[in-house]
Assembly symmetry: C2
Homo-oligomer: 254 residues x 2
């Protein structure tokens, strides 16, 4: 059975451990996974290190920091500060360095840490030949975005925004065979890419539209949702401090 | 091994199925659970019905609608529109009707559909004698709220807001032995309760503070987080409609 390599960029914020916790639970239910977690950080944090070791999952822990000037708001609205770009590339590089395409079978999926994945999604992608595609829920200010399928072929894209992009898909909407990384050794994500074209530019390096394999019952089932978690306010920590009181114990990890 | 009865109120919104999906994944990893899901709805919806049947989990599916006048914003700021009150009571009633305290062992936990639960939390609560308590992350505008423990006894509450409430705890911070429902047959949640006193009023009917059993290493570990999910915008569905186009296919469930 091919191994599914999950590439997950992650960064520190208050909800990080909660997100990783429910994500790990999903992954615990799926056989033959290899979770590549790449922290957007100068160093590997204790939180993620211990979390991964305690999880019992098959994982690789990497880190690479997004350069701070890329994190600033760009003046050109066509370039957005990149999220997870260098981290996903680090994951791809790890696979190029550690996977043997002549003796192993593998599929690669970019699993952001805040999305929601139905475990049946992994059955759908497991036997990807080149690139599999499916709908993504709660994205693009729509109930879902999806490839448009006719006679089991992708013929276009159901999105409101720029459906004429070559691959008008969210990161959560496709998986690729690991072999492609060796057929196209330079393929990667770019720090500077036209806004909304990251996925499209990446896939253009690897496949053509006629090679796409529609999954999830010809793209009629939603098995992944682009959920986002509210940023919790900490205003009572500040109020404690203003009163000269310590607030929560920083030794208690959240 | 005592059965853990999870009481989960839930209501329709775009993220509902995603929330239930990741929640179910967590529960699939825990032995001897019984999931009581109560829809805040006049009828049982197809979405929840099919979801539960496909989950493979041991469940009971109930419904009771919150009366609409309780859902309106109250003019008195001390009374907040109740969330999940009648639903949790329906769950308690089901246990009173179906559980045999003379021949079964059970623990009850109120598991809201949007929180994040570490599976180790269920080990902590499994052997609750009266009521177990532990910290809850990301609640009360703090990193966490927690019982204050001294010599393995609860002596107070770490919260910013009204730490002098009898039980200054979030719904996610305690579990009770099912026997208590039979010792105190009238104990329940109230539709009208002083804002922020729902949990405290409920527990006051069942236990005294000296009976509380602190868990999670004397309340130093956070194993549950009061996460909240962003409400996704659907503005491009509206734009499709304004252009006279159909938008997403309503037969595709999200
Ligand atoms: O500064 C950042 C912001 C985000 N991410 C990660 O990149 C992915 C996509 O980010 P996010 O979910 O915030 O993007 P969106 O939900 O807006 O698509 C997630 O796995 C994040 O944890 C990151 O590594 N560094
Ligand atoms: O109208 C409502 C609002 C909420 N809930 C449920 O009640 C619980 C608590 O609601 P919520 O998570 O919105 O509350 P908060 O996060 O503000 O504590 C959750 O399981 C919800 O699904 C409900 O049944 N009906
Ligand atoms: Mn995201
Ligand atoms: Mn909630």
């Amino acid at each position: 059975m091919p191994t599914i390599y999950l590439i997950t960029p992650t960064y520190y914020r208050h909800v990080q451990k909660a997100e990783l916790t429910r994500l790990a639970h999903t992954f615990m239910l799926v056989p033959n996974l290899h979770w590549i977690v790449i922290e957007d950080s100068e160093v590997k944090t204790k939180l993620v290190f211990h979390f991964l070791h305690e999880s019992g999952l098959n994982f690789t822990h990497l880190n690479v920091a997004t350069p701070s000037h890329y994190k600033m708001d760009s003046t050109d609205p066509n370039w957005l500060k990149p999220r997870g770009v260098l981290q996903r590339n680090a994951g791809l590089q790890w696979i190029r360095d550690n996977f043997d395409p002549d003796h192993q079978q593998g599929v690669i999926y970019f699993a952001d840490d805040d999305n929601t994945y139905d475990i049946r999604l992994f059955d759908e992608m497991r036997w990807t030949r080149k690139a599999s595609v499916w709908p993504v829920g709660l994205v693009g200010y729509l109930r879902y975005e999806s490839p448009v399928v006719k006679n089991s072929k992708v013929i276009g894209w159901f999105t409101y925004w720029e459906p004429n992009r070559p691959f008008a898909m969210d990161m959560a909407g496709f998986a690729i065979n690991a072999e492609l990384l060796f057929d196209f050794p330079d393929a990667k994500f770019k720090l500077q890419v036209r806004r909304g074209y990251q996925e499209s530019e990446f896939l253009s390096q690897l496949v053509t539209i006629d090679q796409l394999e529609p999954k999830a019952e010809d793209c009629t089932k939603v098995l992944v949702w682009h959920t986002r978690t509210e940023k919790p306010q900490m205003k009572n920590e500040d109020k404690f401090k203003k009163k000269g009181l310590p607030g929560s114990d920083m030794n208690v990890e959240i």
